[in-house]
């Protein structure tokens, strides 16, 4: 580090000041602010909230919601109840119970998905870590209620929102996700087709083998009886 | 009873009360309170005599009171300053403790 020092006066006026000059300067600034606040929006940037609302940035995030495809949240929910968000959530405000059938087999669907938004700190990590494009951050902020347990613990019914909602809220992100999912779907379809073809081939092969085996067995039996 | 007798009686009682306070109090500042009472008893007499004691074109009664008030103010200022000085030395304003000449 070089110690190249040079001096620079901080103010603009001369060396000596008359006592009171600084006070008058202050009065001038505050007086100008007062007068200009009557006609310059910049000098009175107050937004009178319930009547007017500020423009919220489309990137604004508040509380999470769950995305579902199609019309019905019961069927279209993307969430597979994998629990990654539950694990990563810093304040641990997510609570998930996997849906299971009678045999105890996982259905890859949440039975309970609760987010306590009085604990949630809007960090967005759940949305970031979700591998299934299921959880996103909402932009709604007028959520004040008078009941901490009934109304601030959001269940599946209030968390689930359609992809249209997501599209409306954050078109850019939603489109990207849509395209990604579509691509993945197609890939999956292709993969499924390939797998089907493969399975078919395998089945054919198996059938063929079985046939051969049967023939062989028959031959053996034949030979045995001979 | 006429007014002058009333005010003189009041003034006498005020003076006696002041004396009582001066003698019985041990807090130096409260002794000053007693002194103020006594001074006021005297002032009250001056005004009463001026008011009911016959024509007094020279206004000597009120003027005396004026000077007396000024002196009382001076006395209070100096007295309290001395008490504060003593208090700084002894950490107390109990007159019984102020019995030695050196601090």
């Amino acid at each position: 580090m070089k110690d190249a020092k040079h001096q620079e006066p901080a103010g603009k006026a001369g060396k000596w000041t008359i006592p009171g000059y600084g006070l008058l300067q202050g009065l001038f600034v505050s007086g100008r602010n007062m007068v200009e606040s009557y006609y310059k929006k910049e000098r009175c940037p107050v937004i009178q909230y319930p009547e007017e609302k500020a423009d919220i940035s489309p990137n604004f995030r508040n509380f999470p919601f769950l995305c579902y495809d199609g019309d019905r949240p019961e069927t279209g929910l993307r969430c597979t109840a994998c629990g990654i968000c539950e694990k990563e959530c810093p304040p641990q405000c997510i609570y998930i119970v996997m849906d299971r059938d009678e045999n105890g087999k996982a259905k890859k669907r949440p039975k309970v998905f609760d987010i306590d938004i009085s604990v949630c700190m809007n960090c967005g990590i759940c949305a970031e870590v979700c591998p299934f494009d299921s959880i996103y951050m909402d932009g709604q902020y007028e959520m004040a209620t008078d009941d901490r347990f009934e109304k601030l613990v959001l269940g599946l019914d209030r968390l689930a929102k359609s992809t249209d909602y997501h599209m409306q809220l954050r078109p850019k992100e939603a489109t990207a996700v849509m395209e990604k999912r579509k691509a993945a779907e197609e890939k999956k379809k292709a993969a499924a087709a390939a797998r089907a073809a493969k399975a078919k081939a395998a089945a054919e092969k198996k059938a063929k083998e079985a046939k051969e085996q049967a023939e062989k067995n028959a031959d053996d039996a034949k030979g045995g009886t001979e | 009873m006429n007014p002058i007798a009333i005010s003189l009686t009041a003034s006498a009682i005020l003076f006696a009360l002041g004396l009582f306070a001066v003698l019985s109090r041990r807090n130096a500042i409260l002794v000053l309170v007693g002194i103020e009472l006594m001074l006021n008893a005297a002032n009250l007499n001056f005004i009463a005599f001026w008011r009911w004691g016959g024509a007094d074109a020279a206004l000597s009664g009120p003027l005396f009171v004026l000077f007396s008030i000024a002196i009382a103010a001076a006395e209070a200022a100096v007295g309290l300053a001395i008490i504060l000085m003593a208090f700084r030395h002894t950490r107390s304003n109990d007159l019984n403790r102020l019995d030695s000449l050196h601090g």
């Binding site: 070089k2 901080a10 103010g11 505050s30 009175c44 | -």
Partner: protein, 411 residues
């Protein structure tokens, strides 16, 4: 027993007489009822006092709103604008809130003195308002000793602040009370001395006569107010600064310095007692500004002869509004001074300047007797300017203004 007999006069309806109209009407009505003369005059006194108290309580309510709005505007906000049209009902809402709050008396407090404190603060302010000449014909109590009465009554405020602070039985109020007492005692001196210059020049202690002595115009348009003379300028500036301190306004609001000692002597008060402090503070502000207007700004005199047709009391209140606005403006701008600076400022700066204004006034008086304005100005201006020169030198020596400190830059 003499019966009261008051005739109705059309002169009562002149704008100049409006503030006294209620008094006249009450006297007239009481006399109509055939009541004795002494009762008529008592009714008149009460109405007259009621008008003053009513006007200033109304102004208090208005000021509490205007202050918040002005401060808000300086700070680029709107201020209260929800209660009623432009927030006009905000004082009412505040009053309701204050009245319905719980009145808390701390356990260690001396309850009687705790109650007396706020009451004692309001009384002297109202009493002091009684002797001010608001208009040519509107002097509630035309006292010969008006000025002395004003200061004698004002002395009560100090005791009241002490009572409030001490009776709370807590530390911040105690500190606030100590600050308040030392501040008020120190600033009473420059206040009285600068008022003394005016008394010297007008030769009377009666406030209406002081106002009348400032009548007339130089060259036909320049009002002969005391402020526009050299001695009046220096005394007036000192009086204004001391006024701010006496009224405990920013930048001298140390007794209630909220960032240091919470709320000073008002810390342990709540509810209506707390509101009483505000009433007392604002009425005191009105009283002391009214006195300043009376002494230096020509009271109810109009600034230009062509405006003489407006009623005189209107001019008084216009001046009051301007002075109060300056108070607000200062409050919105300045930080608070420290206690030792406050005392030093009073004793080393204000009192010398105030004392200097007395000889200045004397010189002005004798020079003016010779009827020579120019000589008077030349003779007195040096005396007015000396303190500022000395102040400039001292200030620049003691403290380094923003412009003279040097800052280095390291790469």
């Amino acid at each position: 027993m003499m019966l009261g007999n008051v005739e109705f006069e059309m002169a009562w309806l002149a704008p100049e007489q409006w503030p006294r109209l209620p008094q006249h009407l009450v006297e007239w009505l009481v006399a109509l009822c055939g009541l004795p003369e002494w009762l008529v005059s008592i009714a008149g006194w009460f109405t007259s006092a009621g008008v003053v108290v009513g006007v200033f309580m109304g102004l208090f309510a208005l000021l509490s709103l205007i202050e918040r709005k002005t401060l808000a505007r300086v700070q680029n906000r709107y201020g209260p604008n929800r209660a009623g049209w432009f927030g006009i009902l905000q004082p009412v809402a505040d009053g309701i809130k204050m009245l319905t709050k719980e009145d808390i008396v701390p356990a260690k407090a001396d309850w009687l003195l705790h109650l007396l404190g706020p009451v004692l603060i309001v009384i002297p302010s109202i009493l002091a308002l009684g002797v001010i000449p608001y208009g040519q014909d509107w002097v509630p109590v035309p006292l010969e000793l008006g000025l002395v009465f004003f200061f004698a009554v004002g002395a009560m405020t100090e005791i009241a602040v002490f009572v409030a602070g001490w009776a709370s039985g807590s530390k911040f109020p105690m500190l606030g009370a100590m600050r308040a007492i030392s501040q008020m005692v120190s600033y009473e001196l420059p206040l009285i001395i600068s008022a003394l210059a005016v008394v010297m020049m007008s030769g009377t202690l009666s406030l209406p006569e002081i106002v009348e002595s400032q009548g007339g115009y130089t060259l036909g348009f320049l009002p002969q107010w005391n402020l526009f003379t050299p001695w009046g300028l220096s005394a007036g500036v000192v009086f204004f600064i001391a006024c701010i301190a006496e009224a405990n306004r920013c930048p001298f609001d140390l007794p209630e310095g909220e960032s240091e000692i919470v709320a000073g002597h008002m810390t342990e008060y709540s509810g209506f007692k707390y509101a009483l402090f505000f009433i007392g503070e604002y009425l005191g502000l009105f009283a002391i500004s009214a006195l300043g207007i009376t002494l230096f700004l020509g009271g109810w005199q109009s600034p230009l002869p062509i405006f003489d047709f407006l009623p005189s009391w209107l001019w008084f209140f216009a001046k009051l509004a301007v002075v109060i606005f300056i108070f607000l403006w200062i409050r919105a701008t300045f930080p608070r001074v420290r206690i030792d600076q406050l005392m030093r400022f009073a004793w080393l700066c204000l009192i010398p300047i105030a004392l200097l204004s007395l000889p200045t006034a004397a010189i002005w008086h004798y020079a003016n007797k010779a009827n020579n304005d120019i000589v008077a100005w030349i003779a007195t201006m040096p005396l007015v300017l000396i303190p500022w020169v000395v102040l400039t030198v001292l200030f620049n020596r003691r403290l380094s203004p923003a412009t003279t400190r040097t800052y280095h830059f390291a790469e």
